[in-house]
Amino acid sequence: MRLSVCLGVLSAVLLPTLASAADPSKLSGIGDSISQGWGANNFPGEHPELGFGQGTDATVNSLYLRYKAKNAAMTKQFVSVSGAEMVGGRDNAAGQAARICAMTAKPNRVVIELGGNDVCSRDKGTTSDATANLYSVTTYRNALKSALDLLAGCLPTGSQVQVLSMPRVDYLYNAGNAKNVITCNLVWSIAGVCRVVTGESNATRRAAIGARIDQYNDGLRAEVEAAAARYAGTVSFITDWRGSAVSNSSVGTYKFGKDDIDSFDCFHPAKDTGQRKLACAAWEAAEYGTLSNVPACLK
């Protein structure tokens, strides 16, 4: 009894000093409208409190809340921007990474969720090739590599960067059609939601776009593994992607259902379902989780 009391006192004194720089203390996020919780409560607009990464809503049980349960002093500062791409524009992965590097207090956990707009913001392909206007896998990989190199160069030693695979937008299209084929197609047409897929009536051509997304995710994993090797001992890089063979084994293979998406634009994860599942999958694919639990998250 006396020994355990002594050990308890000793732990209380020593533990704060033993806390490693690698222990999670601040979470940042690079992402798009999904990270911003766009439409997650069925109202148009950003709802970051409902985002899978930075959310504070108990139903979503975001990555931030899960880290905070481990460390009450955990903070967050996301730089995600609705409409952002991995590759293009001013808010791409490297642009957002540069904003993280400019922070006075650097995070030591970063989650990256991008890719949907890289497909959805492209023009429709040619008659012979639905993917003609999509970025090449090389382009996608080099854009991600630039961001990972920036983060590796500025994050504290012991930091961890998680790169989530990108969702299959053709699965979101299927989910919308299952939800309400008339209203979803109407809003997609008026608002111009991912027309490269939602305006494509040929299932084979939509599948070709989905296959390109699988290739992006294969490239994403290759870049993550290369960065992990390049920066071993300083910053770790992880991803949930384990290939396209098994459905629901990662965010990129998850077949969104009608209840997973919002009812305004039929294309964004809803808070109680899609966002909550993403949060669970991201958590299980990271340091405190178990990768084999990801499919259970996505049920």
Binding site: S33, W38, P44, G45, E46, V81, S82, G83, V87, G88, G89, R90, D91, N92, A94, G95, A98, R99, N117, C120, S121, T126, A132, N133, L134, Y135, S136, T138, T139, Y140, R141, N142, A143, K145, S146, V187, W188, I190, A191, G192, V193, C194, F264, D265, F267
Partner: protein
């Protein structure tokens, strides 16, 4: 052999010059001789309306075939990334002359020098821009910095460049841009065909007031204008900060 040597010297000159400390990318002023050799000159513009800056461009990659092929280039200072097709320019003097698998060729029309860049590689260049090219600069997170006086001149020369029609979207009645003319004021402030304009500083955008709202960006009556728009289904506020 002589021809080969001459070709090497001509092609290597820019690189040799940069190795010699004469940084090709430096020099903010633009000469009349350079203006006369620009790939895309602004009609009637004097040399003083142009400026040059150094930029390091990274080729992320190439895609597509034939006339549809395009290159994706990032400016590593800002990570602003653009898709460029053969024949199109970066600034006024750099023309994309060829797109190959994972490589491109760029011509600087003021020096007639050609440079080849491979995917993942960086290239330092001198970019010449006209005042109109900098009339509205996107700095990320849906923020644009605009020069009111430059935008007024853009509008005077190229017009507003767009119209819109009201559409119904749930409880909203946004104004959908039908087309956006190249070089116009609408194009300069980053608007695209299909954008749904919802409001400007709280005022609903309609086909009747669109022109006045966009022209107002060049009249700098306030320090900032917030335009709420939807693109690709996502609504977001865009802020124009007037300089």
């Amino acid at each position: 052999m002589k021809t080969q040597l001459l070709s090497f010297v001509v092609l290597a000159l820019p690189w040799l010059a940069s190795c010699n400390g004469a940084d090709l990318a430096s020099g903010a002023t633009v000469s009349e001789r350079e203006v006369s050799a620009l790939a895309v000159a602004e009609p009637g513009a004097k040399a003083t309306e142009y400026s040059a800056r150094s930029a390091t461009l990274r080729l992320f990659g190439t895609q597509g075939e034939g006339a549809a092929a395009f290159a994706t280039l990032a400016d590593t200072a800002t990570w602003d990334t653009s898709n460029v097709r053969v024949g199109e320019t970066m600034g006024r003097s750099l023309k994309l002359s060829a797109v190959r698998e994972s490589a491109i060729e760029i011509v600087d029309t003021t020096t007639n020098s050609r440079r080849t860049v491979r995917a993942g590689e960086d290239l330092t260049v001198r970019v010449i821009e006209h005042e109109f090219d900098r009339a509205a600069r996107e700095t990320g997170e849906h923020v644009f910095h605009i020069s009111a006086s430059s935008l007024t001149r853009v509008a005077s020369r190229y017009g507003i460049g767009t119209t819109c029609e009201s559409v119904e979207l749930a409880t909203y009645t946004p104004c959908k841009l039908t087309a956006v003319a190249k070089n116009s004021l609408a194009a300069r402030v980053g608007l695209q065909a299909g954008d749904l304009l919802i409001s400007a500083d709280g005022v609903t955008v309609t086909p009747d007031n669109l022109g006045a709202i966009l022209r107002g960006l060049g009249e700098s009556r306030s320090q900032s204008v917030q335009l709420t728009l939807a693109r690709g289904g996502v609504f977001f506020p865009r802020v124009y900060l007037v300089e």
